[in-house]
């Protein structure tokens, strides 16, 4: 990985080591799609931290390398591991509404069912609402997923207003005392204002306890602007990062988290309903930097 390679040179000079290291880090981050402006901010932060904590004289080269490595690692972990004052925790015997938003094709519909199964396994009574009346076949997709996973669902083939469908679905499941209602919506992007307006209207009738933005791990430099715009309009409280089984390392997600100060809660690791994991900042950052042995870092 970038970190190890950069450190395989054996210069004794701390400052030189730091610079070599940072250069490699910058390259690795840019190659994994972290926003370029954010990369240079990170670089400066890490550099000043490193210069402030010069290793004790007489420490070995290997120790110095470890120090640099750990500082970089921690800085990135801190960035993606953002604290939320009151993280969303659904309560039993109560109605918790979760609304999904995101760009076209990011994996919303797939992740809705994954999350529904996650909560169902934990004993919640979960229902799915398809408030995507735009995308061709959207209701069939959600319906087939829901049937396979044995999750009750609501949607309409004839109603074209997603606000209406969302309203009806929520009412139906509330009446039947469902504890978690997950609302899928259609894909949208910040350039089309009418689509964002629609999202706001859906959210007014749905009144979500939690809004989740779904982000594709392969997203590039557009991640920052798009997620910022979603944050401003939908005030989502969490991110699900999909397609982490792919080749992309998900640097776009770092830009999204930095721009919105919103945590990633789950990652999608495949097309099947069980390909879903809790987000772990440490394994995410180590994959990003290409470090195999995080344990050795953690020892310190």
């Amino acid at each position: 990985g970038a970190v190890n390679n950069a450190l395989s040179n054996t210069s004794d000079d701390y400052a030189v080591n730091v610079d070599t290291m940072l250069k490699a880090i910058v390259t690795a981050l840019l190659e994994s799609d972290v926003n370029i402006a954010l990369v240079s901010r990170l670089r400066n932060n890490i550099k000043s931290k490193l210069m402030a904590q010069k290793p004790a004289s007489g420490s070995t080269n290997a120790q110095t390398k470890k120090l640099i490595q750990k500082t970089v690692f921690d800085e990135l972990c801190n960035l993606v591991d953002c604290d939320v004052k009151e993280p969303f925790n659904p309560k039993k015997k109560q109605c918790n509404v979760i609304m999904f938003v995101g760009l076209q094709g990011s994996g919303k519909t797939t992740s809705c069912t994954k999350l529904a199964v996650y909560y169902q396994k934990r004993g919640f009574k979960v229902g799915l609402v398809c408030a995507d009346t735009f995308r061709a076949g959207a209701f069939d997709q959600l319906k087939q997923n829901a049937i396979k996973a044995r999750i009750p669902f609501y949607g309409s083939y004839t109603e074209t207003d997603p606000v209406q469908v969302a309203d009806e679905g929520i009412k139906k499941f509330k009446k039947e005392k469902f504890e978690i209602i997950i609302v899928d919506t259609s894909g949208r992007h910040r350039q089309e204002e009418a689509l964002f307006q629609e999202m706001i209207e859906i959210s007014h009738v749905v009144k979500p306890n939690q809004t989740i933005m779904v982000l594709d791990a392969s997203i590039g430099q557009a991640a920052e602007q798009q997620s910022k715009a979603f944050k401003d309009s939908s005030d989502f409280g969490a991110i699900i990062l999909t397609k982490m089984d792919g080749h992309a390392k998900g640097g776009g997600a770092i830009s999204a988290v930095a721009a919105t100060h919103t945590p990633i809660i789950f990652i999608g690791t495949g097309e099947h309903v069980h390909d879903f994991e809790k987000f772990s900042p440490k394994s995410f950052v180590s994959k990003l930097l290409g470090i195999g042995d995080i344990e050795s870092l953690m020892e310190q």
Partner: protein, 330 residues
Amino acid sequence: TMGFIQRNLIGNKTITESDLRSVLDKLKKKLITKNVAPEAADFLTEQVSNDLLGSKTANWTSVEVTARASLTKALTQILTPGVSVDLLHEIQKKTGKKDNEGKAQPYVFSIVGVNGVGKSTNLSKLAFWLLQNNFKVLIVACDTFRSGAVEQLRVHVENLAQLMDESHIRGSKNKRGKTGNDFVELFESGYGGSDLVTKIAKQAIKYAHDQEFDIVLMDTAGRRHNDPTLMSPLKSFAEQAQPDKIIMVGEALVGTDSVQQAKNFNDAFGKVRNLDFFIISKCDTVGEMLGTMVNMVYATGIPILFVGVGQTYTDLRTLSVKWAVNTLMA
């Protein structure tokens, strides 16, 4: 002493490596902000360097202006297709050749790409374009994996049938008992494994020949380009279906992974077969960040047939290289 003007603007200056270093660095950063992968940005600035080292700046022209002009040239070169293709003409040539039954072989497209990039949607836009050019189109549901994939195409066929003939009643069957009408029809056989995919593809092509469709458009399931078990069926699929054109849909939102996506899909069909075209989708969602198209063409040399600029049937455009280059240089 040499002032700023002398150093930068006077022109007629032999360009050295040190003159270029900071200028190229700046241009590289600019390209990266436009979503050009660092690897592709390096390649492009290398081109500029080769172009300019040892040459002289024109009168009253700075090194930076000269380098920008050179980069503009390099971008234009990379995005301009090597051979011009008149696809409609090519289709007419094939569908004009009748066999002894008086029927022609259909012109076959298959659409491939990673998950969720816009394959099915842009296939439908392609269908609309071909219908506008008076071809009869058979849409084939070869994504037998993703939930709702067949129904998604069915909705598109209903929409397209209605656009071609206002009196088309949604949900009605045509004279052959299928979804669609005389212009456009859906060929489907439900869900199943990759054996089913190949079977559907072959049956569809025969059916299109018998029923005198000009065009066969085959949708395929999205797949991860780094998974051999998902990628290897593509090769046998292409060998069996023998598509005239294989089009990969690449998504403008995708970052550096687009380089590898393009390479892996281009390599998936074996040594004797390549991708024929890209469609770059979702260009309306990235503003000025048009780098993906550069990345994919840089990785493979495969030309861009169309760009997708929205979610409706008319949101398919031929790429204006000039527009793309200006946007990237802005």
